[in-house]
Each structure stands twice: as structure tokens, then as C-alpha cells.
Amino acid sequence: MKTFIKLMAALFVGAASLPAGAALKVLATTPDWGALTTELGGDKVNVYVATTALQDVHRVEAKPSLVARARNADLVVATGAELEVGWLPVLLQESGNSRVQSGQPGYFEAVSALKLLEVPSKLDRAMGDIHPLGNPHVQLDPRNIQAVAHALTARLSQIDPAQAAYYAARGKDFDARWDQAIKGWEAKAAPLKGKPVVIMHRDQVYLCHWLGLTEVASIEPKPGVPPTAAYLGSLVGKLTATPAKLILLNAYNDPKAANWLSGRVHTPDVVLPFSVGGSDGAKDLFGLFDDTVNKLLAALK
């Protein structure tokens, strides 16, 4: 008992004597928000990303390593709209860190800056894994990234006012480069407009919305529900009658059903990075969209 108290006391003193004024500690739930925070915060932020592009963000565990990062975070950058509902509440609860609780300046939700698509008018879990507040997979529309960047710049300045000018300058710089980049991607992706595509999960909706791709079918019969053989059979019939140009897959998806369908209906399937780190080309946010547009165009040929 005495040793235990001594150990606790020693660690407590250690905590109190940590250097002040170090870089802002940020815990980002996805690689995309991690990359964006790095773009905006430069060397004034120290970003830890909770997941990789090869994980399904719906199903992540509240791992001890993440609880430890949440405890020390000055800012948590999450998607929101209940995307992380299965694990982030536990992280925040276990963190013993009042600064990053929901409602505090240290808790930022990307969707707070956005208007979500597919807000359901009816809620029933018989409809599958639906998100009551709207589709939270917002990162594949670069205009969303831009809106979140504005809000995140403001938030960084709010919690680290000493560096406000630095964040404002970086935010402005990013905004200009991103504007240019969007113009480039949109010009390049013009041939994709109106092309019929098959999607895997509702997490490709924002990409389709941005590029004007027409979603004609979904490999998941309902969100989060894997396809049955009978359902895939009906898709073959449907896609033979009204062919699609592409079948879209994400890096983290199980490719089996899409590969099978691709072979049956002679439509190419294309694996998109989905998040920063999801492909060799998607090293940062610019790379994510470069690679996504390039892969789509290459598959269309």
C-alpha cells in the first residue's frame, strides 16, 4: 500500500513538471483529420491518429493506447455524426481529461462545419446501419475538407491563442492551394460526370455527389449488411439490363463480392484509397484526391 502511494505520488510530480508551451497534442480519429490538422497546425501541433485507412471506423476498439492519448490530448478532432459512437465515448470517458469532453473547446467535430447528405426521415434499425444525423463519411468531397479546414483553423486559434496568427496564415495558405487543387481535380474528372457506378457502402456517397457520378446500385443491400448470394444475383440481372461503368471499392473493404460482380457483369472494379494512407499515392490530403481521381479515370478507360 505504501509503495503504491509512493509510486502514484512520484508519477503525479512527474506530470506536474512536464514542460509547458510544447506543441499542441491532437488526437484525430481518422487519418484524414490527422492530415488536415498537420496541414493547418504545422510544427505547432503533435498529431496522433487513432485509426488507419485499412480499418473500418465504425468498428474500432477503445484500445488502451488510445485512452492514454486521449488523456494527454489538448484537442480531439473527430468526424462526429455518431461515426465513432462505438468507441470514442469510451475513450473520452476513460481519459480523465475534462478539456476534450463533448461541448468543450478541446473537442472538435468535423460535421459541425458541414451540411450532411442523407439525413434519414425515418429511423429504424431494420434499415441497416443508418446514421440518425446523416451520412458521416464526409471526407471524399474536397469542398467539405475546405469547410472543415476553416472551422478547425478557428478552433486551433481558440485553444492556442498565442499561435493564432500562425494558424491563420497556414489556414489561408492551405485554402488557396486547396482551391487550386479542387479546380484541377474537377477539370480532370470532367469525363466522370454522369457516369453510372456501383458503390459498396454509403461511405462513397460524397465522392459521387462531388464528381457527379450516378449511383445505380449498392453491393450492400442495406448499410452495413453484407450481400447475400441471391441479392448479388439480382444485381447481376439489374446491371446486365442497365450496365454501370465502374464498381467502387474502398481499401478497407472485403473485395470478394465486388470482384465476383465485376467478373459477371464485365464492369471494372476500382479500389480507392478512401482515406489518407489507403494507397501508395494517398500520402496526404492532396495525394488522396489526386490518387482517387487518377484511379477512377484509369479504370474508366
Binding site: M1, F4, L7, M8, L11, F12, G14, A15, L18, T52, L54, Q55, D56, R59, E61, A62, K63, P64, S65, V67, A68, R69, R71, N72, E82, V85, G86, W87, L88, P89, V90, Q93, E94, S95, G96, N97, S98, R99, Q101, G103, R125, G128, D129, G224, V225, P226, Y252, D254
Partner: protein, 466 residues
């Protein structure tokens, strides 16, 4: 389209009585009906709101109806504004439904863990045939900017309501500190804090059943502190009234017992995470009922008064190479030492004797998710009931209380297979080779237990601990 027709029809009906004062409005509405084709959904909502306005206007005096009609061009108020705020702060509610079908090769009524004092009634494989499990109802919400609260009630098959957990927790403390108070699952060990619906097997390992009757609940307070390191390092201390096996509630003021625990955890590479821990629990029992079956099968004592110290080391490792595959290995070793006196009352003659024993047990389990919705698992349980020592008087040297023949060696092997159609449903089959009754001489035949279980969750999306 059927929906639209219904709206138009009901609107016409509703507006009829108000036709005289609102004739112009009806004409305007008719014109708008044409426009509906272009913007179907939004318009239907707007019209529904307007119908509500007209309905309330009809109930009111005629001039009031005209007044409402006159304000018609204004957009209808958003739906959110119309709902009462009384329900807006309702807590998150979730309900777990569970049940099982059980077959056993031996009579479940004589199930016991050889060499161990029964630690409660909720142990063992349960009854044969269909069994309704506990329906678990959880309410939770932030209380204010400083606290959050949670209640988990279990509605049992016997139509009783049990408070599983009811606690507050701080949310405004910083530097890794948090405080919890009320009744809660103790931070002792790894599996102790896991709710029944999140277990990987139908029941708790034998060691938890023998040492705690399932799970150790604290009626008291807990303080936890998380170290400011990137390595997960957590320390906790609890105290309470001790009113949970192996302790009993004391008549004194103050606390009974304490729990201390420490957990450490982290990642190995991108796919592997782990947590390990050690915990210690001390508590005092006063006239705790119980009885070890002695050599002749009769109870060796009736009640125990004394100190009980338990410690555990636990570890869990998860390897997740893809979003659809996971291997989870976990194990715990528990050790308990009890010292005190027991009352032995064979024929109304309350004899007192000194008593001491050291018991231990462990389990090791592995669960492998081999496809998105399928898992298999295996678990092995083993217990050591120790060698009870007693002496008729404090001055006498202790005597080993050993029944003839071999010592009890309760153990069990379980295999599990489950299918998880979604995050909210689970169907499971579990088969046990259950030798918990094995006392080494008279009850050595094992039991074969098959259980088919369902677990469904409705309501708020729960978030599970690691």
C-alpha cells in the same frame, strides 16, 4: 403518390368547415398542388404543417381562424421547434434481451464447485430447457457539466428487478483523475467490469463464479488516475460497504475493505494491442453463510467470520489483421487467502473453531473472429480448492481438514461458436465438459452442457470498453 393523395384528401376534409372564411386559401392551396409535382417531399411537409394550423384554427373562433389564414405566406416553423423540450434531455436508453436453451447430462440442481463455498445463487449452468435470461436496461446521460450518471437494471426471469449498476462519474476533473460512486462493477481483474451481454462465452469463468458468484460489485466509491504517459498506465482504488461476496456488511461505521488495481497497456505494431493488470481486494466477513461439503458430504461449517484477501493478475491481447478478423487471447489467475473462525453446528451445538484456507483458480481463453460475422472460441477453467486448516481452539496447532481420497479438482473445458448478424444481435452455441463437481472421490463424473443463446440489443448504440 398514395401518400400525397391522402394528404390532399385529408386537407380538403379539414378545410371544409373553414371554407367560408378561408375560401381564397383553398384556391391558393389548389394552385400549389400543381407545384407539388416538382418538389414533392418538401411540399408535403409544408402542407402537413399548414393542415395543423388550419385544424387548430377550426377549433378556435372564426376571427382567429381568419387571422391564422392571413399569416399563411409565412413558412411553417421547423419541426424541432414544435416538439416539446421536456423529452429533449431524456437519457440514452438501451435494452438487452437474452435467453438460452440448455441441455445437461446431469441434474443441474446438484451443480456445485467442489471445495468452494457457494458464492451466490447466480452460478452454474442454470436450469434445463428454455430459460429467459436477464433483460438488462441501461439509462445514461450527462447530469450537468460536472457529472454523468448511469443505471443498469436487470429484470430477471423470476420477475424481479435487480440494480446491477447505479453510479455517478465525474466528467470535469482533469490530469487523468476520475471519481465514480454508487454501485458499480469493480475494476478488479479484467472480466469483472465487462457486462454480461459482452462476454465471449455464455457464462463467467469458474474462477469468477467461485470467488465472486459471477462479478464483484462495489457499493462505494472509486478513484482512478491515468498517468500522463503514452503508455497506458492506470491506477485505481475503491472502498465500499463490503456487502458482496467474499465480504459481508459490517455493523460498524466506516468502510469494509478496499480494492487497489493497476493496468498497463499499449500497442505492438499496427495490428496488436494488449492490456495487463494486477489487483488486490481485501474485505472482512462476519457470519458469512456457506459450507464446504466435508468428507461425508455434510457441511463442514455453517458460517465464517474473518478476513479475506484476493489478488489477481490478468492479461488480454488482441490481434486484428483486417477489419473482419480478430484473435483475442485472455487469461486471469486469482488467489484468495481467508483467515478467521467458523461456526460448526451439527446438532444445535454451535462449536467455534479457527479456520484458514488458501484457494486459487485461473482460466485461459481464445476467441477467433474468422469472418466478418463469425467467431469461434475455446476456454479452459481450473480451480484449486486448497487445504483447509482448522483447530478447535486458538492454542491448538492447526489440523489439515482433508477428506479421504484425492483432493477436489474442479475444471471445465468450453467451446463456443457464434454468429453476429449485426452489432446488435448475437446467436451462440456453447458446449462444456464441466467437471466443477469433481471432489476427487464421490462425484467424479463430468457434466456435458450444451447451451444455445441469443442476445439482442435495442435502443442507444452502446460503446464497449476494451
Amino acid at each position: 403518390m398514395r401518400n400525397l393523395r391522402f394528404v390532399v384528401a385529408s386537407m380538403t376534409l379539414v378545410t371544409l368547415p373553414a371554407l367560408a372564411p378561408a375560401a381564397d386559401d383553398v384556391a391558393a392551396l389548389r394552385a400549389e398542388m400543381q407545384a407539388l409535382k416538382s418538389d414533392y417531399n418538401a411540399r408535403v411537409q409544408a402542407l402537413e404543417a399548414r393542415i395543423q394550423q388550419l385544424e387548430s384554427a377550426n377549433a378556435a373562433p372564426a376571427d382567429a381562424a381568419t387571422a391564422v389564414a392571413a399569416t399563411r405566406p409565412e413558412p411553417p416553423p421547423p419541426a424541432a421547434a414544435a416538439t416539446s423540450s421536456a423529452s429533449a434531455f431524456n437519457p440514452a436508453i438501451s435494452l438487452i434481451l437474452g435467453g438460452s436453451y440448455t441441455t445437461t447430462s446431469r441434474d443441474p440442481a446438484d451443480w456445485r464447485i467442489a471445495g468452494f463455498v457457494p458464492a451466490g445463487e447466480e452460478i452454474g449452468p442454470g436450469e434445463r430447457s428454455f430459460n429467459l435470461g436477464e433483460s438488462e436496461l441501461t439509462f445514461s446521460a450527462s447530469i450537468d457539466p460536472y457529472f454523468s450518471g448511469t443505471l443498469t437494471a436487470a429484470i430477471t426471469a423470476d420477475n424481479e428487478i435487480e440494480v446491477e449498476e447505479a453510479f455517478f462519474r465525474t466528467t470535469a476533473l482533469r490530469d487523468g483523475l476520475s471519481v465514480k460512486g454508487g454501485r458499480f462493477l469493480s475494476g478488479f481483474g479484467y472480466l469483472n467490469e465487462v457486462h454480461a451481454h459482452a462476454w465471449d462465452f455464455v457464462d463467467q469463468p469458474l474462477v469468477y463464479q467461485a470467488m465472486f458468484g459471477g462479478q464483484y460489485r462495489q457499493n462505494g466509491v472509486q478513484v482512478k488516475w491515468l498517468a500522463p504517459t503514452d503508455l497506458f498506465l492506470e491506477f485505481g482504488a475503491e472502498t465500499g460497504n463490503g456487502d458482496n461476496f467474499p465480504g459481508t456488511r459490517l455493523e460498524d461505521n466506516g468502510f469494509n475493505g478496499a480494492t487497489l488495481f493497476a493496468h498497463v497497456g499499449g500497442d505492438i505494431g499496427d495490428y496488436t494491442s494488449w492490456r495487463a493488470g494486477a489487483s488486490w481486494l481485501t474485505s472482512r466477513a462476519e457470519e458469512r453463510p456457506g459450507g464446504i461439503p466435508g468428507a461425508d458430504g455434510a457441511s463442514a461449517f455453517d458460517s465464517f467470520t474473518g478476513d479475506s484477501d484476493t489478488w489477481v493478475v490478468d492479461g488480454v491481447l488482441k490481434w486484428e489483421p483486417s477489419p473482419r478478423r480478430q484473435l483475442k487471447l485472455q487469461g486471469e489467475y486469482m488467489h484468495r487467502k481467508e483467515d478467521g473462525t467458523f461456526v460448526f453446528d451439527p446438532a444445535g451445538l454451535a462449536a467455534l473453531a479457527n479456520y484458514g484456507n488458501t484457494q486459487s483458480g485461473w482460466y485461459l481463453q481464445g476467441v477467433y473472429q474468422f469472418a466478418a460475422r463469425w467467431r469461434v472460441g475455446a476456454r479452459y477453467d481450473s480451480l484449486d480448492s486448497g487445504s483447509p486448516l482448522y483447530s478447535p481452539a486458538a492454542s491448538d496447532p492447526p489440523i489439515e481438514f482433508a477428506p479421504p481420497g484425492a483432493a477436489p479438482s474442479p475444471d471445465r473445458l468450453s467451446l463456443m461458436f457464434d454468429w453476429n448478424p449485426s452489432e446488435f444481435s448475437r446467436l451462440r452455441a456453447q458446449f462444456d465438459w464441466d467437471d466443477a463437481r469433481d471432489d476427487g472421490h464421490s462425484l467424479t463424473d463430468g457434466d456435458h452442457v450444451l447451451r444455445l443463446q441469443y442476445l439482442y440489443g435495442i435502443g442507444a448504440h452502446g460503446a464497449h470498453k476494451y
